[in-house]
Amino acid sequence: MNSHVQTPAVRHGAMFDTNELVINMGPQHPSTHGVLRVVLRLDGEKVVDADVVIGYLHRGIEKLSENRNWTQIILLTDRMDYVAAATSNVGYCQTVEKLMSLEVPRRARYVRTILCELQRIASHCLWLGTHAMDIGAMTVFLYAFRERELILDLFEEFCGARLTYNSMRIGGLPQDIPPSWDKKVLEFCRIMDQKIVEYEELLTHNRIWLERTKGVGVIAGPEAVAVGLSGPALRGSGVPRDVRKDEPYAAYDEMEFDVPIGTAGDTYDRYLVRIEEFRQSLRIIRQATGGLPEGPIVGKVPRLIKPPAGETYHAIESPKGELGYFIVSDGKATNPYRFRVRPPSFCNLQALPRLVRGHLVADVVALIGSIDIVLGEVDR
């Protein structure tokens, strides 16, 4: 694909064809999940082209992190994908551990796996609720948020916070799981099993849902890879790419789970992939909780964290896709020399103009929901 020809930027004040209409969607539109602005060029109701304008939520997290010490950065990572803060914490801590060649105890890796998967379910719940509501299904929103609350309760019990967890430490965990927390997690898995069936009853065979999602925003596997899609958005196009399987971290190498993939590469398949991921996540949580080993929760971490000079890139599978950290240490300072985040939402959002071209304005809403973005992460 040569995007030079297909995506001329829509510039403000430029003369446009009288048959075409340029409208602004956002940055305050409720379906843009935050402050995303999409400048749409329309022919009637059909989208001819779209220009995505981002940066409204840019807080300079990379720059800030280069001026904080290694431990302080953990809570800045909370504020990127704030609906999946624990995953961002784990990704960052693992990158620093890789730089320092730190060994993380097995128990800590298991708890990290449980937290990551709980977080994936919570994030997918939020995605499902808002995605369905954007398309018009209010009930699903209420259902999905009900289950998300249960997960937030579990997180609150683990680390005291419900949104920005600061739930990880370099080398392990800040504290062990509370007593009988694992039983509550299993109880949650039992509840969640039935709820997934409920979601599917509402949507999977719903005629309106099928009309609105089938054949909308089709992207084939090789093209999806080329434009940099990752996570469920990529797997919906049939590419079996999952960082948990391909480059295992935490305790994923000891877990048995499948990577669901779609076939059509449309909004409906991306929906099916995420629904199946609910089940796979529950499967992982059950294994990890059942086989939770005893032992220490923090490895041998020096009092002063100061990785040796060098750089590394480390990626994990966040609920949105490949979340990568590229960190450079100069070996002298107590702060990173360069701190870079490869945000999955940012890279997935890049594909939006490609996906919406030729569809109706209403489908833009469905597609923004379908690629599951969080603007806090896009803009950092």
């Binding site: 981002i54 800030l64 730089l99 940099g228 480059e247 000079a309 490869r342």
Partner: protein, 590 residues
Amino acid sequence: MSQVIGVPRETAAGEKRVATVPEVAAKLIKLGFKVAVQSGAGDAANFSDETYRAAGAEIVGDAARLWAQADIVFKVRGPTPEEVGLMREGGTLVSFIWPAQNPELLKQLAARKVTVLAMDSVPRISRAQKLDALSSMANIAGYRAVIEAAHHFGRFFTGQITAAGKVPPAKVFVIGAGVAGLAAIGAAAGLGAIVRANDTRPEVGDQVKSMGGEFVSVDYQEEGSGVGGYAKVMSEGFLKAQAAVFAKQAKDVDIIITTALIPGRPAPRLISAEMVRSMKPGSIIVDMAAEQGGNCELTEPHQVVVKHGVTIIGYSDLPSRLARQSSTLYATNLFRLTEELCKAKDGVVNVNMDDEVIRGTTVIKDGRITWPPPAPRLPAAPAPAARPAAGGAPADHAPKPAAPTGPPDPPPPAGQTPPDFIGALQTALPGAVTQVSYWVGDWTIIVAAARILDVARHLRDAPEAAFDLCSDVTASDWPSRAERFDVIYCLYSTRHRRRLRVKTKVAEDQPFASVTAVWPAANWLEREVFDMFGVNFTGHPDRRRILMPEDWQGYPQRKDYPLEGPGELLMENPLDWLKLRQAREEADIE
């Protein structure tokens, strides 16, 4: 055999403190010591003999027996000649000594062949903070100074609007923002007063603000920080400017609290008789430096006097006036010292002269005078930031000495052979790869900037490489290098499931080919690198800023870009800022 810690009653007139309190006595016993307390030692501080006994201490009736029995004596004030006479030969004494002011006492003690640790000589280093009795006493004194002032002051501290009329808040001016000064600021602000403070050391400005005060600076360029975080003697020009500031404040404020002290010197004269005369009737001066000669010309030590309608408080026993609190904190300081002296927790002290803290504190060791200790090396406060040159970058972003020039990029260790596709790439495009590096499990190839497109195409299309996914494009900035940017591509092959990092070095304005045609995913990623670093990509289909607004000046992720953003330039030099913006707009119109 555990040693006995003896705590005699203080004999100095008006001294209400006691060197240990029941709670701490129990902790000392846990360390393995026996504790003997003279009967009535804690009475003035409201600690009865019973409470000591309940904590496990032995109560001894008279001083002579206690001194004879004790291996270690804890005291607040330095011993009197009689007490020195009571001391056991070879024993240990811990108290305030002030060796510089009391050379005679030092000689007497040395003659008794004892070991003496002076709580006023604890070195000012972070590790010793928990046993810094000067700070804990100064803290109490600062608080008490405000309470004494409030007691003599005829008005509220806080402002009020009542049915009976409006009450303006009291204005308090604190001179010297050390531990005592900061405590005074906190206490006065807590009572609701408007608090201002001045200090010769500019770096305490933030501390003043954090305690609720307002920092009044003297407009004169001179650094007032001396060794160990204490103040130093200032030049005449500075003193003149300072006096002008104080004279102005004196006319305005209701209460002045002076805490200015310079180690080993008489207190500086800061408030002249003239300034006192200019103050409003009913005003208060609390001179905490009264014992060292006073910061105010009219202070009379240990007295409260009224001069020109202004009450001048010259008490030198402020901590003793809060005896229960100061005893508790002092006892805790002594306990921390004991912990340092008795690391084995076996009830026997070991005066280890190799320990920096103990070395500094010990003034006599086995009858040999070891005071003064070697000079403290570290300043207690971080070095203050130098003022930025007008219009220049703020000082904390000034280039540091020996600026880093990039990560080491170590070659692969023996036994790590590079994957086959790297060899194939080197064969296909000779000279393109300048270096192969391996670090914590990652392979990196460093590529000549001019060859990046060829390399990218090869890596995507060659079947043994097949890097179809461009995960990330980013950069790092090394301003001291001629080619200041590292541009980094993180690649992944979905076919072979492996990663590779490609790195190139690029100069600031050097045209550098975009890889968007090879990996469309690089589009936004390169835009971000352009936006954040200003790397000059060529052949990019849509080279606009992405996160920052279109008309933004500068490149935020560069190392010489201030963390605070351009705010400083905007505030200090709004005209320059406007000019920059206009220049850009005009260029756009053309």
